[in-house]
């Protein structure tokens, strides 16, 4: 992992802040967070034996990035609760399988309140199993409607696909964490309105494009790119989920998910380089929400789950690239996944008062 090609040690760098701090620059700054999920181990990603699965991250993005080799998640290792923890900077304890909001304020609420940003400036694109409440906490410090709008691409597809959806069902795969439990996807009028009024897509065009895609995460990235074009949010959060097919126990599908996510991350970065609102002023963070169980942990079954709480399931990595980020640097110093929100606060100028983590000093 530490042998990532073309990277130098961070300790060799100077200590001056890489970020431009002027108010005008801050207003133009864009931040994209991509969770490389759900749950990928080092040995299938950045460890030497896994690098063949992530050619885009290794070959294209890593040389431009600051790379953090040791990110630990000390919280509950379920995808919704872990992603919620990433957004709040607090190890949330909500029921992973319930559609409940995070208990603590989210990064979106801090961002909007402190920086007085409109709702259209923060968006979440997420898989559908429970993530519809991730944009906004039930904290009393923030009123209703102060969070991010959430787009659930699968709901959108489900809502727009009147009649048989045989050729789209591969995009509606859901809930890998408990494969036997597959709740019905519901769509609503609101979601159809999102399609037309926000994404400015006709149902016909959306459906036609959906038919060219091969996975739910491809649909998410398509929606995210459309949001970038139409709304240009300053804070965009994209949760990938294809990798979690690992719960079915098929190693080849897990690897296929990692390779697809690798490609989609590069595609997003390419979109950043081509969208006028984003080019040159965007910082992108890519990190798995956590790892998966070790092959050698007797209580688990290797890559299949993330239930044991062993080191392999708790430890992962993070890549940061773009505006203000030192390129080609590797940091081995341990950080926690709850450090992301305080780091974003320090970068963007808001105060995440209830977050437990601390800003990553390399970004200060």
């Amino acid at each position: 992992m530490r042998a990532t090609a073309g990277l130098a040690l961070g300790a060799a760098l100077g200590s001056s802040s890489p970020f431009v701090r002027s108010e005008a620059a801050r207003k133009k700054r864009k931040t994209i967070v991509v969770t490389f999920g759900g749950g990928a181990r080092d040995q299938e990603t950045f460890a030497p034996e896994g690098q063949e699965n992530i050619p885009h991250l290794i070959g294209e993005l890593a040389p431009q990035s600051s790379f953090f080799t040791h990110v630990t998640n000390h919280g509950i290792l379920g995808h919704y609760v872990a992603t919620a923890s990433l957004t709040t900077g607090v190890y949330e304890t909500l029921n992973n399988f319930s559609a409940v909001p995070p208990e603590h304020p989210t990064v979106f609420e801090y961002f909007r309140k402190d920086l007085k940003r409109p709702a259209s400036d923060t968006w979440v694109v997420a898989p559908s199993n429970g993530f519809n409440r991730i944009g906004e906490s039930d904290s009393r410090s923030f009123g209703p409607g102060m969070g991010a709008a959430v787009i659930l691409p699968k709901h959108l597809l489900s809502a727009t696909a009147h009649g048989p959806t045989t050729d789209l069902e591969h995009l509606l795969r859901d809930n890998y964490e408990t494969p036997l439990y597959t709740p019905e996807l519901g769509g609503s009028e609101f979601e159809v309105q999102q399609l037309e009024s926000i994404l400015r897509l006709s149902v016909e065009d959306f459906m036609a494009h959906a038919r060219t895609l091969s996975s739910p995460d491809e649909l998410s990235v398509y929606i995210a790119k459309r949001l970038m074009q139409q709304e240009a949010p300053s804070l965009l959060w994209i949760t990938m989920h294809d990798i979690d097919i690992a719960h079915s126990g098929a190693y080849s599908l897990y690897i296929e998910g990692i390779r697809r996510t690798d490609r989609l991350c590069a595609e997003l970065w390419k979109a950043v380089q081509t969208e006028p609102e984003y080019v040159g002023n965007t910082t992108m963070f890519i990190l798995p929400d956590f790892g998966r169980d070790s092959d050698y942990e007797p209580g688990g079954n290797g890559f299949q789950h993330h239930r044991t709480g062993d080191a392999a399931s708790r430890t992962t990595w993070m890549m940061a690239l773009g505006a203000g980020v030192r390129q080609g640097v590797v940091f081995d110093e341990p950080m926690q996944s709850v450090d992301l929100v305080p780091t974003l606060g320090a970068m963007l100028g808001f105060s995440p008062g209830e977050a437990q983590g601390k800003p990553i000093k390399e970004f200060l």
Partner: protein, 402 residues
């Protein structure tokens, strides 16, 4: 309910042998921490349907616990005693529903950030127990065989990558009659060392002709049970209030008769097969997962002397709803994906075998079915090397266990 209040009549719903076992050790149970007991009861409640190796392990554990003096017991369980559980869990019917209790305990430990402490306590307890368990010498060195890649005509990438450092790779194996030779080899062992549930053949597809001395489980033979289970699950998830956790609880309670399973005359094996489908994730839909998980459970539970696992092509990935409803059958298969699944599964087979007693002497053979590639991990063969010896599978097996 606290452990010190335990009474014999509270175990009246346990199967007879399990009840006898608990009642005869009730004094010991009364001294153990609540956070620990349901995990043990979860095993004991199924005692009547356990394999001989599991029964021996449970009896040995209880004997060891009963032999501890009070100060020794307090010292051994100190880390468990320091964990806190909720009043709701204390009031739970952990005597009759120990598996459900442990599910809820797990959620509680995660939520209260005590999971790492529990994990450390359990690991320490398990290591200590293992070191104190009386070791019975094996009648013969353990043997694992994985046959992967059925139906694949050619594959350009390297196989057995994870195993290569541990054994000798072979690239000129004669594949003719390979599976038959391996099955004959396992059958010979079962004849020479007749141990109940000591020699297994697991097939991810249709089982090949084999000796009746082998305990056999196959994906194809369980097709009616899988279909019945998926129908049961489909009906359950339509019920109001049903969620993933409720579904797991439901699955834990299912019995063979609930699914119309015809008794085979071997209640232990029937229960084992049911648990493969109700406890394994993905075993109901992907044959490669079924074979891998079954191998893991055979090794963990039955601790066999011989285990041959043959992987078969699994169906292509489809939307989960479609896989579960199985409306379109399983006609389209993913040959290369199945080979990759099985390659990793063969590595897990070896790892799980190495967790058992006698691991230093055990042998493992993996073969790319129909092709010349194989690997053998055995104490008598060098590691990390490649051999071009032109052997058939019978000769290779002899080499592995010689």
């Amino acid at each position: 309910m606290q452990p010190h209040d335990l009474q014999p009549e509270q175990f009246s719903s346990y199967p007879p042998e399990a009840r006898r076992l608990v009642v005869s050790h009730l004094e010991t149970f009364r001294e153990l921490p609540l956070v620990f007991i349901p995990g043990l009861l979860r095993e004991i409640i199924d005692y009547d349907f356990k394999f001989p190796a599991e029964r021996t392990a449970i009896e040995s554990e209880l004997a060891l616990l009963s032999a501890l003096t009070r100060p020794q017991r307090e010292l051994r369980f100190r880390a468990f005693e320091q964990l806190t559980i909720s009043p709701k869990l204390e009031q739970f019917d952990w005597i009759n529903q120990p598996a459900q209790f442990t599910e809820q305990l797990s959620a509680h430990l995660w939520t209260t950030h005590q999971l790492d402490a529990f994990r450390a306590a359990a690991t320490e307890y398990g290591s200590r127990l293992q070191s104190e368990m009386p070791l019975q010498p094996l009648a013969v060195r353990r043997l694992g065989i994985a046959v992967i890649g059925q139906g694949v005509m050619s594959y350009d990438n390297q196989l057995f990558k994870n195993l290569r450092a541990h054994g000798t790779s072979f690239n000129q194996i004669k594949p003719e009659r390979g599976l038959d030779l391996l099955l004959e080899g396992v059958a010979s062992r079962s004849q020479a060392y007749p141990v109940p549930y000591g020699h297994w053949y697991v097939d991810g597809g249709v089982e090949s002709s084999h000796s009746p001395r082998l305990t056999c489980v196959s994906y194809k033979s369980l097709e009616p049970l899988r279909a019945s289970l998926l129908r049961n699950v489909s009906a359950e998830i339509q019920k109001p209030g049903m969620g993933p956790e409720e579904l797991r609880t439901h699955l834990a309670r299912i019995t063979p008769s609930d699914l119309g399973m015809s008794p085979s005359g071997d209640a232990v094996l029937d229960r084992f097969q049911l648990k493969i489908l109700t406890e394994g994730s993905g075993t109901q839909i992907f044959s490669t997962t079924f074979a891998q998980w079954t191998a893991r459970e055979v090794l963990r539970r039955a601790q066999p002397l011989s285990l041959l696992v043959r992987f078969a092509p699994r169906q292509r990935q489809r939307p989960m709803n479609e896989l579960l409803s199985n409306t379109k059958g399983e006609s389209e298969v993913d040959l290369i994906g199945s080979l990759i699944d099985a390659d990793m599964a063969s590595y897990y087979h070896w790892i799980n075998q190495q967790r058992l007693s006698g691991y230093g002497q055990s042998a493992f053979l993996a073969w790319f079915e129909g092709h010349g590639e194989a690997i053998v991990v055995a104490p008598t063969l060098p590691r990390g090397t490649t051999s071009s010896s032109a052997l058939d599978l019978g000769q290779l097996l002899s080499l592995a266990i010689s």
